[in-house]
Symmetry: C3
Subunit: 161 residues, 3 copies
């Protein structure tokens, strides 16, 4: 067994789509970044890579690389999961929190969970996404950004290939 | 085995009691919220629900529900623990950090740990509470809020009922 | 098995060395604190103590104690690991993130990982250090501070001594 953690933040700006957990959420702003800036998927990807001792998302998918401009972060997570499996680790469960002052994320939680579970190849009930506000405090509370946090447990699936 | 994480923040304001880990702490301000605003217990509750794949505290105990106005968060954590057990999961251990610029929390750590352990039905030494300041940085460092973070490990106790 | 988490922040100021993961990193500022203010090692130490139910770094190594003025945090982590082992726990893996707007930390990640692994007595591949910016948001994003986060998994090594 091994545990990993991830954290991410992106600025919330006009003129971008808001992608969280691979779900496009109707809102008047979106997250700014080189890829689709999906903070939740980035935190989960980092936690997964971290659990398997495989570095971090910035090393795997550099934001200076044109291949990842506007990238679908579901694809990045799927690639990370494949790398984790190749080293003989199997994702066991994911728990994550999205911290956003707005919009309300409750209605999108199950779609996010299903997306993440599909990328990882785990049952839907092995992925849990929680939502919080920042109680109007700090950049997240002022609506300037959205943060995400995640933990992942992995187990040995087989000898590394 | 499954892992969960939780995070919470509440604003620190005059005219409220300061409840952390179910302990009333003498201070000239308290945490603002619909319930007793116990950020530590909320983070632990979210981590526990998250480990068991049971959603989040906001879904279980909505802050729009009059039943939870001024609620004792020890009761909420106890209810969450019962739900986790009903699904066949048993809490193994909890580790958490409270981040507050003031007051000093060291003297209250063991009482907080005992409260959490009792709610979860685990031995006292399976719960660890840590305390930090924010080094005068950000809203917590300016004394405007208190944050808490938690991780929880659960194991299979039995077939789900 | 038990899980622990840790978090730390220190202000970034002129006239101090920048120590992260026991590595001195060339930069025009450094972290302010009583010890060497190595936020990464402090987060890992707290996560390790937390997993073993041994309290927190502030209780073990008080910043009011002259013995720890300017202390090498690698030594503190090594002492914490010895205490964890004495209680019959063995570190399994560590995953951590350093959040800094600057400097770039990628080139130093493996040296940090090797330092932490040596303190804990675990193989180098059981320690993973990730690096992020704060996207110019909040105190970390403004270059006023550096934060670190960590999770640790421990397992039973033997009966407590
Ligand atoms: Mg990102
Ligand atoms: Mg709360
Ligand atoms: Mg420190």
């Amino acid at each position: 067994w091994r545990v990993g953690e991830g954290w991410d933040v992106h600025a919330l700006v006009p003129g971008r789509r808001l992608m969280l957990g691979g779900v496009e959420i109707p809102f008047d702003k979106g997250l700014l970044g080189h890829s689709d800036a999906d903070a939740l998927l980035h935190a989960v990807t980092d936690a997964l890579l971290g659990a398997a001792g495989l570095g971090d998302i910035g090393t795997w998918f550099p934001d200076t690389d044109d291949r990842f401009r506007g990238a679908d972060s579901l694809r990045l997570l799927t690639e990370a999961a494949a790398a984790v499996r190749e080293r003989g680790w199997q994702p066991v469960n994911v728990d994550a929190t999205v911290i956003a002052q707005a919009p309300r994320l409750g209605p999108y939680r199950s779609a996010m969970q299903a997306n993440i579970a599909r990328c990882l190849g785990v049952p839907a009930d092995a992925v849990n996404v929680k939502a919080k506000t920042a109680e109007r405090l700090g950049p997240v509370g002022q609506g300037l950004s959205i943060e995400a946090r995640a933990v992942v447990l992995v187990g040995r699936s087989a000898a590394p290939r």
